[in-house]
Symmetry: C2
Subunit: 217 residues, 2 copies
């Protein structure tokens, strides 16, 4: 029974690799199950046996990437200010998108289309929320967040704002620079209401220097 399982795992990994390559080359719609089966030297029903559907293949690949990303996440430097820590995390996300834009575009498309991918999206969201929430909780403990504000709620609003902009990028309405500008402006606006002390000074300073013009119209 061991060899069989190993072969199955090998085939899964191989198919995933080929699928990731095809998606990177041709996008979500450019990846067809028939093409993928042919490119991976496998029959179409095998794809369904091993994964369950087109979206499940992308989910598996995303799951794998999230695992490696989560493993590599360095704890944010405690010496930096809360605002700087947020900027660092934000820029890490930007570099991720920059590295494989077509893949994450395809993920966005999948999240919008397939209900099966919802749990995967939730997990990715929770990962991002956790980073922001932890930073906000620390800031609140340091008295730099309004007492009535919930770190979890604020983090979710910030992520929702990011996600909305991310969708604009995935749909081709915004380039990566505009995504960065709009999303950071939006997140700063959310933070502006709850930040206090030095944290608030940083946020308002960032907001006042930001370009007022908005690419969304």
């Amino acid at each position: 029974m061991a060899l069989q399982a190993e072969h199955k795992a090998d085939r899964r990994a191989h198919i995933q690799r080929v699928a990731a390559r095809l998606v990177a080359e041709r996008g979500y719609d450019g990846l067809t199950m028939r093409d993928l089966a042919h490119a991976a030297r496998v029959s179409v029903p095998t794809l369904y046996n091993l994964f369950g559907g087109k979206d499940a293949i992308l989910c598996a690949e995303l799951e794998a990437r999230i695992a490696t990303i989560a493993a590599r996440v360095a704890p944010l430097p405690a010496t930096a200010s809360f605002f700087e820590r947020g900027v660092t995390a934000f820029e890490a996300g930007q570099r991720l998108l920059e590295a494989s834009p077509e893949f994450f575009r395809a993920c966005a498309r999948m999240f919008m289309t397939s209900p099966d991918a919802q749990p995967m999206r939730r997990r990715a969201d929770e990962l991002a929320v956790a980073v922001v929430r932890d930073n906000l909780a620390a800031a609140k403990a340091a008295g730099q967040v309004a007492s009535w504000a919930s770190p979890d709620t604020v983090a979710r609003h910030a992520l929702a704002l990011y996600n909305a902009t991310f969708l604009g990028w995935a749909m081709g309405e915004l380039d990566l620079g505009e995504l960065g500008a709009i999303a950071s402006s939006g997140m700063c606006h959310v933070l502006a209401g709850v930040a206090r002390g030095a944290f608030a000074d940083d946020v308002v300073a960032a907001l006042t220097t930001m370009e007022v013009t908005d690419a969304r119209r």
Copy 2:
């Protein structure tokens, strides 16, 4: 040439009505071009002749609804506070969703799926942005918005936050009550950073009385 155009318009209107009914009954995926053609006593290619595709039919119906909505929009009462005016507009939107949930769910699905529907979405967005922007501009003129804040940018952030929550509702993750609670909380958070004076007092008062628990997890 007149009769032909008239008949074409009649057929278009008839098909649109039938399509709206079918979508309301069976949702976006439940509406198939073959079913629609049969129900409207028309051939499938005719649908493509008259509209251009499945999404275009929904777009036409949405366009019609937006026109009637825009015509009925009563100017927000000038006597009310800026915050109350915002609440009024927000609740009007909620009632819209409540009246034909399946239709707007289908619109969301279409916006997420079809690039052809992008201009339609943009137009709907601009309509909503305009309401918030105008209110914010008036508030700023009255000195109740921070000087560095751009009414347009803040309005777009608020709408992005609403849209993200709206998608959650459309995908079945949230019910209408949760949509209202989360979206209003999010928009208040955005406003909290830029509101000043009595406007700020209203926003913070609303935020402090809001349920801290968040349905998104």
